[in-house]
């Protein structure tokens, strides 16, 4: 966790430093605000990093007004579940890219309910059909949302 915190500080410093480097090339009007923001960001992130190096950052770690992840799951299980969750999310995005929204929606709902949630075949099919019907009726027929074609369909010339 300590390394992770330092890594995040380093990430902020890197982003801000890159912003400064790029902004120096721009005209004054365009560079004024990014520079005014990036320079103090580098300083503040460096202060935080320095505190972490000196071991002060974690001693007086005051809670931020924000979400706190639940800690009642063993770390190995937590890590595995986080990777699983991100894989599903990334898989969804990849699937939309490959085959488009209209096909991804039923496929994703069906696969997730069946393989991840362990729902029986009949309820899975029913839930998939209802979700697809709502998706099709609401977004495609009613709102007329134009969904981009997936690259697979484009490649096949469909």
């Amino acid at each position: 966790m300590h390394k992770g915190r330092m890594f995040f500080c380093g990430f902020l410093i890197l982003v801000a430093a890159a912003a400064i480097y790029l902004a120096l090339e721009w005209p004054f009007k365009a560079a004024l605000f990014p520079l005014s923001v990036s320079i103090p960001l580098v300083i503040l992130a460096a202060i935080q990093l320095g505190q972490l190096f000196l071991g002060k950052g974690e001693i007086v770690e005051s809670a931020a007004v924000d979400l706190e992840f639940s800690s009642d799951v063993p770390p190995e299980v937590e890590r595995r579940r986080v990777i699983t969750a991100f894989s599903w999310i990334a898989g969804f995005v990849l699937c939309v890219y490959l085959i488009g929204f209209p096909l991804t929606v039923p496929l994703f709902i069906c696969c997730y309910l069946r393989f991840e949630s362990g729902v029986g075949p009949l309820p899975t099919i029913a839930a998939t059909a209802i979700t697809w019907a709502i998706f099709y009726g609401l977004f495609q027929k009613l709102v007329h949302l134009q969904f981009e074609q997936g690259v697979v369909q484009a490649w096949l010339g469909l």
């Binding site: 960001l41 005051s62 977004f139």
Partner: protein, 503 residues
Amino acid sequence: MFDAFIDGLFLVLQWKAFSLMLVGMGLGFCVGLLPGIGGAATLALMIPFVFKMQPAEAFAFLLGMHAVAATTGDITSVLFGVPGEAISAATVVDGHPMAKNGEAGRALGAALMSSLVGAVIGAVALALAIPIVRPLVLAFGSPELFMLAIIGISCITSLSGAGARGQVKGFAMGLFGLLVSTIGQERQSGSLRFDMGLMYLWEGLDFVPVLVGVFAIPEIIDLTVRGTSIAGERPAENLRSGVMEGIKDTFRHFWLVFRCSVVGVFVGILPGAGGGVAQWMAYAHAVQGAKDAKDRERFGKGDVRGVLGPGAANNSKEGGELIPTVAFGVPGSGAMAILLSAFLIMGLSPGPDMLTKHLPITFSMVWTLVIANIIAVLLCLTILDQLAKVTNVRGGLIIPFVLLLVFVGSYTANGQITDLLVTLIFGVLSYFMVLFGWPRPPFVLGFVLGKVIETYFFISVARYGFAWLTQPMVIVLIILMLFVIAYPYIQKRRQRVQSQANA
């Protein structure tokens, strides 16, 4: 004036105007629930339908829809941690933890009732402020508006961890949000910044994919890790009494709700700030109102005050935004700019005529805001019991549908698959922010305020050089900003002195 006030009520209660208001409310209800389909976009879609309507009917239809979208946006924020509207993001911070604590009914009751109170206060402000608002708006030039936005950012000190280290993190995150907001074409010179050669980034990052990613993805990950329902293993809440408790909370903390409503009205009046800012300023104000450090630590973990503040400000700002729109034809937000086009379609010109010749129509808007919110809240209260039960359904059965909602909502921002990638990237970033204790609200506030701050900063420097810092109102606002930053220390010192005196 009183006659016009009553005439305004009768204009709304005419069967055709009232029916159209109900239709608009139905649309607003759905739009509010669906992430990404914003109230402003729906207003734009509905503009072609008002051509054949009378002015009072058109405003009943459009405002009814717009007002309800702001109210129902809180529902998904509380239940799933997915902001239904960009202006409902602050409700997630405490509303969703309440749902996790088995208090979904209470959170929804509080969100809806505070929204209603906020809407009524906003409408009253609209009715009262029209004659007196002109000097206020004219007194605020670019330097003052810039300083006001900076005060908004300074409020982040109360949104991050207590003490100097918390403030360092808060400011760093606020600056990071401001930096992200600079992506895209710079408005004054037209230069492209941080566009990485992608045309998608020329217009900058849209609020919806970023906000949805920042708030929804870590919640989904957390729900997956816990492997339970949203409310966990806690016994199911007595929903009816929970909702009633939320309603009572609104009146228990009425002074807070009132103050946050005033914040909403004030932010609404100022051009360009918008609801995204009002909710966060109200949230920051609620946090700063904590009695001590222990009381303050309840925020972010499911404190009802964190729901009441943004809920009230979100709806009161509607009345506030209408003030400059009606009185001067200066829209306070994108939605009001679209509403302004409805004025022109109706053959009305905003300005003095709206305060004299067309005063009943102006008052009909006030009445629409009040009546639409009352009906919406009453309707929502009848179905809350069913909605809140969702928090007791196993997470594995909810996650795919929430993910679908998140990504379809994100996609509606620009209609590009890249929106999904933006949501994913900011979701991952947000996950690490939470994991390593970097507060997200200052980042979001910085991101939302970024473009406004940059515009006013540039105009101030271009017009006055650095002399803008010496203007009397700016000096007052600088002092106020310093007070906002120092307030947690003053509060801490006062408590220490008090505890020493007691000992």
